[in-house]
């Protein structure tokens, strides 16, 4: 991939990460890879060479999509016995393994939802910041399966994700309101919980989360609103917080008086201390498990 194509891939992932969240971006990327393998027209040696080049580019995305990287690691390991096989066998196996990875990721995400819905209680006021697919499903399941009544305060984030969650809540007749994140201080007395998803949880106990998460969590902590982070273990990164390659962009902003340079980060790096409860596919991650992960 030339630098332009790499830059374009970065932008596509950044777009999907913002619009869909890390979970859906991961499954979407795996499905895209399946489709690419199906259409690829080249010899056996070429297949792995081309895959290695692409995988290297995916590993250096900004930010790193930890669950996708884990999936590719597993894929490569499981494909290894077939590297000497015929072209068609290699391709078929690659597609089969990737399909299984999609199923595996989804099943873990479902387990997180199953555990997560237990935390929704009657009469809750729930703040949702950048609703991930897991958080959205937790709210839906709590309403449909557990028949809980609660209210959701959606913090407006981006032009695609906010309408999606608003549409879903409206369809399911879950009482909700959408407010700008910077207006949250006016609604703190109506909330008792905040639910979050994340791109990655790092070994130094930092969370790569959508932009604005850090400020919102600080405000919640200050007002004793309990925070819940839902992330299956594929989101747990081997790396440290400062190696997550969070995208940083500088742009010129012109005003009537001057032009200044604006620097923006695509994601927040949040201290795990701001999270009260971390839930993965096995349930609540207690301190013992957390420290074991952190090493």
């Amino acid at each position: 991939m030339n630098p332009n194509e790499k830059e374009h891939l970065d932008r596509l992932f950044l777009y999907h990460g913002t619009a869909l969240g890390a979970a859906r971006t991961t499954t979407m990327a795996l499905n895209a890879l399946i489709s690419a393998f199906k259409q690829l027209d080249c010899g056996k040696e070429g297949i792995m060479q081309r895959y290695d080049e692409l995988a290297a580019d995916i590993r250096t995305l900004r930010p790193r999509i930890t669950p996708l990287i884990h999936m590719l690691e597993q894929f490569e390991k499981e494909l290894r016995p077939f590297l000497d096989a015929e072209n068609s066998v290699l391709r078929d196996e690659a597609i089969k393994i990737l399909s299984n990875k999609v199923k595996l990721y989804r099943s873990r995400a479902e387990l997180v939802v199953r555990h997560g819905m237990q935390f929704i209680e009657e009469g809750d006021g729930i703040i949702v910041h950048s609703a991930s697919s897991v958080v959205t499903n937790i709210l839906l399941q709590a309403k449909q399966v557990l028949l809980k009544n609660f209210k959701v305060i959606v913090l407006q984030l981006d032009p695609i994700r906010t309408p999606q969650i608003a549409f879903t809540l409206r369809q399911e007749e879950i009482p909700h309101m959408v407010i700008p994140a910077f207006n949250l201080c006016h609604y703190l007395d109506q909330a008792n919980k905040i639910l979050l998803g994340a791109v990655s949880v790092t070994r130094d106990l930092k969370v790569v989360a959508p932009v604005g998460t850090s400020a919102t969590l600080s405000l919640c902590r200050f007002n004793r609103i309990k925070s819940y982070l839902f992330a299956n273990s594929f989101h747990f990164s081997h790396g440290l917080g400062d190696s997550q390659r969070i995208h940083r962009e500088k742009s010129d902003v012109a005003s009537s008086r001057t032009t200044y340079q604006l620097t923006t980060h695509s994601h927040d790096l949040v201290d795990m201390d701001l999270i009260d409860v971390l839930v993965d596919e096995e349930g609540v991650v207690d301190n013992e498990r957390l420290w074991a992960f952190a090493g």
Partner: protein, 434 residues
């Protein structure tokens, strides 16, 4: 020819203002009319009598139907589905989008077509690292070629059909073949001179992977408004009804203008939409532009100016039907590239009528020459047709700049090809009938 100086001067000034976009087209035309009214060249009752109501009804009716159809989201859905079907293959992008653009342009107005197609094609091609300029230019050109096929496809045809009384079927039967041949040759030309661009992408895993992500982005960007199935069904039924009534015009005796307005009002009454909002989306300035031009040209006709031009320019060509037909075709083609083809067609209609009185040419071949010339000629330059201007403008909004010369590099040869196809077709047609 008494008192002709002022109408001629006003007409020429309006023409220059329209061609060089010195002011809004509708304002230019209506200002010209108002000056002539103020100087008592005609009175307001005479002026309104010069307007071809049939054309205005057809335009207004079709614009109304299109506004509601667009609201249903069907065009965007169709474009996204086509983008998915291409799977990122540059050649498929060119062919599939061109087929859709040409078909849509044949039944809707060209500007509506490019308004829907261009944003998606820019997103798709730029996202794949292709040069979007080539695809934008090609779709603008194809929309003009596709619009040539039917009575309702392009404004010059609407004007010719309404003013001359030619039916939808006559247009379809007589123009379909040259349009299809021109379309195929235009696509072949685009492919032949840009073969590098159309290389398959299925040898690169990274490209195939990126394309899938890109298609998902297009889905998210363009399909964020849910389709309204009830509105969609009602709109499509009305569109089919309108086309059916156009086709059966000789049986029902309903003119295209009446059909379009009847179906449009029926759709407004059953669509359950905010009519005020829909009416705001109709291009009233285009309708005013047409009204103004009809009056300006009508005055010149009444004053004998058009007859003078016909006698002193076109009727000097002699009585060889081949020369007459080909001259009308090529003059229309070249003039429409530099002048707006709407006022040009309105001006040419009385001239062609006089030519037909002097040298009768069977089967309305002279009208087909005017239609093919005026529509194909719109492709000659960036300012030749509204679809070109809108396409280039939309591409610019998306950060893709297309210069006048860059547009012409592709468009001149394609226009030449189309006019050659039309010449061969009309010559053969004449040879078979004479």
């Amino acid at each position: 020819m008494d008192g002709v100086l002022l109408p001629i001067v006003v007409f020429l000034v309006v023409y220059v203002a329209i061609t060089f976009e010195l002011m809004n087209k509708a304002v230019a035309a209506m200002l010209g009319v108002m000056i002539l009214l103020a100087f008592h060249v005609v009175d307001e009752h005479q002026a309104i009598g010069l307007v071809d109501v049939e054309t205005i009804m057809l335009l207004l009716g079709m614009m109304s139907i299109v506004v509601i159809l667009r609201k249903s989201g069907i065009f965007t859905l169709l474009s996204v589905k086509i983008a998915e079907l291409t799977q990122g293959s540059p050649l498929k992008i060119l062919i599939l989008f061109s087929v859709v653009t040409a078909t849509m342009s044949a039944f809707l107005d060209n500007v509506t077509t490019v308004l829907i197609i261009i944003p998606i094609i820019v997103e798709l091609t730029a996202g794949m690292g292709l040069n979007p300029r080539l695809f934008v230019i090609s779709q603008a050109i194809i929309s003009n070629i596709g619009g040539t096929a039917t009575l309702i496809g392009d404004p010059p045809n609407i004007i010719i059909g309404s003013k001359v009384g030619l039916t939808f079927n006559q247009f379809a039967v007589n123009l379909f073949l040259p349009v299809v041949i021109s379309l195929v040759l235009a696509l072949f030309f685009i492919w032949a001179v840009n073969r590098e661009v159309f290389r398959p992408v299925n040898t690169s895993l990274a490209k195939l992977f990126s394309i899938q992500l890109l298609l998902e982005k297009i889905r998210l960007d363009f399909l964020n408004t849910p389709i309204n199935p009830v509105l969609l069904t009602k709109s499509l039924i009305c569109l089919v009804l309108a086309i059916a009534l156009f086709i059966t015009q000789t049986l029902t005796g309903l003119s295209p203008g009446v059909v379009a307005m009847l179906v449009a009002m029926l759709l407004f009454s059953i669509a359950n939409v905010d009519v005020e909002q829909m009416l705001e989306e109709i291009e009233w300035s285009t309708l005013l532009f047409f009204i103004g031009l009809f009056i300006l040209v009508g005055i010149l006709e009444e004053k004998g100016v058009i007859e003078w031009i016909a006698h002193n320019v076109f009727l000097k060509l002699g009585d060889n039907p081949y020369i007459i037909v080909l001259t009308v075709l090529w003059v229309s083609g070249i003039a429409s590239g530099f002048l707006d083809n709407i006022p040009f067609t309105i001006t040419m209609i009385p001239i062609v009528r006089l030519m037909m009185e002097t040298t009768p040419i069977p089967h309305d071949i002279l009208w087909w020459a005017l239609a093919l010339g005026a529509c194909f000629g719109g492709n000659l330059t960036m300012i030749g047709a509204s679809a070109n201007i809108v396409s280039v403008g939309m591409a610019k909004q998306a950060g893709v700049k297309i210069s006048f010369l860059e547009f012409m590099k592709t468009s001149v040869i394609i226009t030449f090809i189309c006019l050659c196809v039309a010449s061969a077709y009309l010559t053969l047609y004449l040879w078979l009938t004479l």
